[in-house]
Symmetry: C2
Subunit: 369 residues, 2 copies
């Protein structure tokens, strides 16, 4: 499946939760499959912190598939011969949507720290603008994991008539200190790096040379995406043969993994975007504006499906259960299902263990659940 990125440009302002305005703004996105005549086959995929709109298929001439390609495609769980799938790059992210490195029309320079602090609600609001521009006002499902799951919950609460199903995986109603702490390591590591230049770096310098602070922060991030058990399985105590045991910087396999993933990351991800997106996660709270979580969830009209992973330490099954239990206090209590997937893989399970939940998602979409 060869795919292309599209761009939606908006001259009208985006009013952010903070009271700030983004104008103009743009969102890049991809679609897969075909919109049917009565527009009843639309599925929205929301992406996580470092994810992008490139969720499936291949770009012309490239060999690397989209990040959820195991899950989405012709004949796959999200079957693109049947569904019209849309994935949009979150506003604030660095893959083509308006971000801190976009040009601020007031100054004709990049916004940098003048970019408004965004919330998950702002991200979803911007997505809704894209969907309106495509004449889509109702969808079959919104599906997302991690920060994508926060967006899915936000769709459910703030746009109750929009989606028939909401599938939120490996996520939470409000980010807890464990996750905030991991984000903190990244934030401080970025800010302390002299090459970050207090936000006044040039993008091309970072893309070419990397940014060690972001790399180190990303290494911490990778710990949070795995678990003690998944690391045992994946790496064990394998030691790099070429390094001696008494070489101070001799490396275990897990250290090589972290170096590889850490140091590559800044070549493809922008540090200011990271700071802004981490912030949206840290301050996400599905009950904001309501007295209780249950009260907030009471607005939901869609069928809400919660999927957690037993080994997930970043957004623990207990956090998903809390959402389930809060729903059960409400009149819409029959509109929720909860499934915990048995997995040692940690938070990353929603990305890599598609075979464990693919059929379940098919059952949801086929209205068997």
């Amino acid at each position: 499946m060869i795919v292309e990125t599209k761009t939606a440009v908006f001259d009208e302002p985006l009013y952010c939760e903070s009271g700030r305005i983004l104008q103009p703004f743009q969102i890049v996105y991809e679609t897969y499959g075909k919109l049917n005549k009565d527009k009843s086959n639309v599925i929205i995929i929301t992406h996580a912190l470092s994810g992008s709109h490139h969720v499936a298929g291949f770009y012309e001439g490239e060999r690397k598939a989209g990040w959820w390609d195991d899950f989405i495609g012709d004949g796959k769980s999200i079957d693109t011969t049947k569904y019209f799938v849309i994935c949009m790059n979150n506003i604030g992210s660095c893959f083509g949507s308006t971000s801190p490195m976009s040009i601020d029309p007031d100054t004709n320079k990049p916004y940098r720290f003048k970019f408004p602090v965004l919330t998950i609600s702002d991200i979803v609001k911007a997505q809704m603008r894209v969907l309106e521009s495509l004449d889509i006002y109702k969808v079959k499902a919104v599906i997302g994991g991690s920060m994508g799951g926060m967006q899915a919950l936000c769709y459910a609460i703030e746009y109750p008539d929009f989606s028939e199903h909401i599938i939120a995986m490996a996520t939470t109603a409000y980010t807890r200190p464990w996750a905030i702490a991991f984000n903190k390591v990244v934030i401080e590591a970025i800010r302390n790096d002299p090459d970050f230049k207090d936000g006044y770096y040039e993008s091309k310098d970072i893309k070419e040379n990397g940014l060690k602070g972001l790399a180190v922060g990303r290494m911490a991030g990778h710990i949070s995406y795995l678990s003690p058990n998944s690391m045992d399985e994946k790496f064990g105590r394998k030691y790099d043969d070429t390094d001696g045991l008494y070489d101070l910087f001799g490396r275990f396999e897990v250290e090589k993994y972290m170096e590889y993933n850490g140091y590559n990351f800044p070549h493809k991800f922008d540090p200011l975007s990271y700071l802004y997106i981490a912030k949206t996660m840290n301050i996400f709270n599905a009950s904001r504006g309501s007295d209780t979580l249950a009260q907030s969830l009471d607005k939901i009209k869609a069928k809400l499906h919660l999927i957690s992973f037993s080994g997930d330490l970043l957004f623990k099954p207990e956090e998903m259960e809390e959402i389930y239990n809060a729903m059960k206090e409400n009149d819409n209590k029959n509109n929720v299902t909860y499934k915990e997937i048995d997995s040692d893989y940690g938070h990353d399970a929603f990305l890599v263990e598609v075979e464990k939940f693919g059929d379940y998602v098919v059952d949801i979409l086929e209205e068997r659940i």
Copy 2:
């Protein structure tokens, strides 16, 4: 209890496991209580990564007690009216024992990266030299948590006739990738900091100005010492009142905790010591030199007491159980006890929840277990 630090200096070489030699070397230590006539009341406390020999009591004029003062002192679980307690600063550490910043007699300059890579065995070997110098050849117990527990295991295996009891808490027979990964964040954060100057920093500069890389690494370390649940309890989602929600760098309580502990750390701990000590933990393997862990543990003659903490993610209860089960394969199978303490506190439980294991340790020392 007012205590003083003592120094033991050795002109004879310390032969390290790597084949390297340290000569001369010194160890600083403290003692508490009085050695009885038949020298049957000695207890050795081994300390963890960033710990020191100052395990109990106060220095003249200071108000901060030693790190395990709740556990050790007159009338406490380790009762210093009864026992003669010794705690030695590990070689390689930065509180007065020979370390990478000590003067290399070959060059009359600090060793820095010329310091030999040490192992837990080397650390214990150096401690044995101190004990010999005090004419102590047999002790009642060796007690330690985390990396101190590794030392305790090492005493048990390598000096079988030395201690009656070995109490190893919150530790492991070999460090697994989860813990190695956290150490990796610290290692990379230190090395990338320009103020580290590839190891050619001046100690006084770091002590005065800190070292941001070590600070960031330490923040990651603090995550590993806690757990999702302990963080929920300790911090919740409390947000600094003085920072607005839409301030990009507004801070949650957990972030303030990390900043405080992270940025203070380099003022009291040396980055090269950190690298060398983390390495001893990473390469620790209680079965090295034997075909199996059971075979290695078969050498133990002491009574080995293993204490784990249910919420400890750094050295999980399963890791302690593995030691227990390996002991059970041996002829000395009756020489082992295992207790899992119910705790949400994470790895730090061995430091802060003394009340949960204090009486149990008393029972061990009084030979009731």
